[in-house]
Amino acid sequence: MAQMTMIEAIKDAMRVELERDENVLLFGEDVGHVGGVFRATEGLQKQFGEDRVFDTPLAESGIGGLALGLGIQGFRPIAEIQFIGFIFEVMDSIAAQASRMRYRSGGKYNSPITFRTPFGGGVHAPELHTDSLEGLMMQTPGIKVVVPSNPYDAKGLLISAIRDNDPVFFMEHLKLYRSFRGEVPEGEYTVPIGKANVVREGSDVTIITYGAMVHTSLKAAEELEKQGVQAEVIDLRTLMPLDIETIVESVKKTNRAIVVQEAQKTSGAAAEIMAQINEKAILHLEAPVIRVAAPDTVVAFGQIEKEWLPNEKKVIAGVNQVINF
């Protein structure tokens, strides 16, 4: 099996789908000729031609509209938004248009669009390049939200997203693009949207997380083991739909849980997960569920980014708080 970085796996997924289905189109700012600012699409224009893989003018709302209209004509667009902060420029297309196309047209049209965008801190990117906006998307009815944490999942989830007949917001963590390699099968396979993965089993506490924080949480779990604490780590993989069954099953076993997210603390994914644990498993809890998250400020890019982001130490402190409650 091939060893790939996450960005290679993402490119491989797009190659597989471009090859399999001629309705798949790939476009965005700089994705064609140079292959994207991170080279996620490098070589794809050469392989599939300018008709299917192309550069657009620099206008995110235009890219969103293009995707919407192409979806109406039966195409399956993969629209790259160069950095997550630029999402606000295309928010209407995503949150007010693609999300309700099926509803508005009584099912005549749909929006089989994958909006891919890099996000995530820890790589010293500029302002408005790294925000974690999954919470906004989770609160938008009609959108699926996917956040892979490793190369295998990234390829399988992206293939699922491209084949999905509803819009998918696919978030690619910048820090994970090239930080490690993993085994990735050749050709096509899917990882289902809406299914979490228990990446570490444990009996004392459940750490629920996604994206780059999966790795932070796994490291924290190793440290905790030395203290005699067995932490179970759940990689959600998909935030909408949320695999609450896997979460509840784990909480029933461990009776304690924390949610770790890179995003700001208030509202958002962690808050939703806590609310659902409260609804479905409160009598199984020995301690309140807590959040390990960033402060409710704008993203601290640059100088104090490292202190701002959740880290291993904060995860360990969070676990100890619920263990010692």
Partner: protein
């Protein structure tokens, strides 16, 4: 500096020319034969029938809205020429991306009228567009239809079809970023889109003079490198011709066209509390009434013996009857349900929504 030539300011300053809107029909019903589009007597009569029908439908819809039998309604009276004339120049396979006031175009393009009424009432079946009808439902977000029309047109082009997309907005809509983005995409990818701006002078209450410093809205298309024209939007023949020309260019692979139609809405912005007397003068309204698109065209057709008072009465009666039948059909359509709404969010309803649906179904059973 010897090799630097002396330049006049006129050489490097970008300017637009003075423009006069395309007009074919005079106020007293005479036509400019040189510009007259090739329309048969039957087609001319049909154009008139549709305009008269639409005005009656508009009056009936206003009254239905006042009776609480319709939801949101944006009156169309005054804009019949720009709406009907433009749609009439299209083929059935051409695609219409309307703004919120553009219900007549999509109904004449094939959407059953009772569905337009259902849409107004907030019933999902309203937007369930029949298979052979190529329209989107009216766009609420001003400008969103403009970027989408570029996408639909790119799709048609990639499929090798000889069809065009027409999209409508108003003078206010031309201030949106999406207006420029949509035109720019259509220009850059050479897409068959016809952008129609129905400039009726007001975006709700804000006059065009406060909307832009540009002398014309038509000139905004020049920035996107697309063909741009200004048309008398109260002249149904001019509207027909402008769209026919633009559609031909689109079909021939010559790209997009922006059409600014100078028009006026006789009624309020919508039936939701807008009072035009707060921002328009009676004098101004009376001036525009003289340009009434139906009156002008009627004079022309009567002189050609193509339209009689009897035709007019018959059309009005037909419209009244159709509206009565169609609203009855809308009102007898089974009410939407929350479980039905839930099932329309995704192709396959995820478990959290299934759970919420179940809660509603259980309540209904009680």
């Amino acid at each position: 500096m010897d090799n630097v030539s002396v330049m006049e300011k006129a050489n490097y300053e970008v300017r637009t020319n003075k423009v006069m809107p395309l007009s074919i029909l005079s106020l007293d019903g005479k036509v400019n034969e040189d510009l007259l589009p090739d329309l048969s007597d039957d087609q001319l009569r049909e154009l008139m029938r549709r305009m008269v029908f639409t005005r009656t439908w508009d009056q009936r819809a206003i009254s239905l809205q006042r009776q609480g039998r319709l939801g949101f309604y944006a009156p169309v009276s005054g804009q019949e020429a720009s709406m009907i004339g433009s749609e009439f120049a299209l083929n059935k396979e051409d695609f219409v991306c309307p703004g919120y006031r553009d219900m007549p175009q999509i109904v004449w393009h094939g959407l059953p009228m009772y569905q337009a009424f259902l849409y107004s009432k907030g019933h999902q079946h309203g937007g369930e567009i029949p298979e052979d009808v190529n329209v989107l439902m009216p766009q609420i977000i001003i400008g969103a239809q403009i970027v989408q029309s570029a996408g639909v047109a790119m799709g048609l082009k990639k499929r090798g079809k000889k069809n065009v997309v027409i999209t409508y907005t108003g003078d206010g809509g031309s201030s949106q970023g999406d207006f420029y983005e949509g035109m720019n995409f259509a220009g850059a990818f050479k897409l068959p889109v016809i952008f129609v701006v129905q400039n009726n002078g007001y975006a709700i209450s804000t006059p065009s003079s406060k909307q832009t410093a540009a002398e014309t809205i038509a000139q905004k298309g020049l920035a996107a490198g697309i063909k741009s024209v200004q048309v008398d939007g109260m002249d149904v023949l001019a509207m027909y011709k402008a769209v026919q020309d633009a559609a031909e260019r689109g079909r021939n692979g010559e790209g997009a066209t922006l059409i600014e139609a100078i028009t006026y809405r006789f009624g309020p912005h919508s039936m939701s509390g807008d009072d035009p007397t707060k921002y328009r003068t009676k004098d101004e309204e009376s001036e525009w009434v003289l340009k009434d698109p139906i009156v002008r065209f009627r004079q022309y057709l009567e002189a050609k013996d193509l339209w009689t008072e009897e035709d007019e009465t018959k059309t009005i009666e037909e419209a009244k009857q159709t509206v009565a039948d169609q609203i009855k059909k809308a009102e007898s359509t089974a009410k939407m349900t929350i479980p039905g709404l839930i099932d329309s969010m995704f192709e396959s309803t995820p478990s959290h929504l299934e759970e919420q649906k179940k809660a509603y179904l259980e309540k209904e059973g009680n």
